[in-house]
Assembly symmetry: C2
Homo-oligomer: 132 residues x 2
Amino acid sequence: MSQELENTLKVGRQAFAFFQHGLETGDWKQFLDMLTEDFTFWFPMGKFHGLNVGKQRAQEFFQYVTQAFSPGLKITSLDRVTTNETTVVFEFRDEGMLFGEPYKNRVAVSFDVRGNKICSYREYFGSDGKSN
Amino acid sequence: MSQELENTLKVGRQAFAFFQHGLETGDWKQFLDMLTEDFTFWFPMGKFHGLNVGKQRAQEFFQYVTQAFSPGLKITSLDRVTTNETTVVFEFRDEGMLFGEPYKNRVAVSFDVRGNKICSYREYFGSDGKSN
């Protein structure tokens, strides 16, 4: 494994651990600290559908996620971690309540790594939110 | 790059080329020939939603895809290819007509490679089918 690949995997895994912590607890500080200032993300639907630009926008998004999935979204299995020199893709399943209704999904998130930060991510849904 | 990683990437890319050919033309033979007999796949929604088991089921699915997206679904950009020793993830955008209505999506497909075949895949949607 090249040093670049090793670093990308390490940074990606650290970011994912903080991402999971944010989903579960609503505390996003450590995850947000890992984002570059020019961070961008793509989300599949709702008010953050499409391309979102900037760290401020990310802050708003994760605050919204925490409100939507109160009291926290649980990752029930991490199915695959796939890496190259710049990108780490996590395939996982999650479960919780979405605005009070039972919610389950299969999700892929693809993190782009630059140095020891995440500069962008893309999220994809593998289910309809009712089963995973 | 290890020999195993190199083989996985090569087999994954070949399968993806045949997958793209199937989407565009409705001719799935070469892609289906690359699937193991115990092939399984996950699809996000509709009548093939969830886990699907067996090559026969895959045949039915891709026939359905061709009917749904007549006259063919076009991959407009391949955004990321991410690999480890067993899995290749393709992030791409597509565009076409779904039962006569304009359709666009961002998609991630994750192929699991065994030898020179694909033994399973998981599909994820990054958009709502109306924009990518």
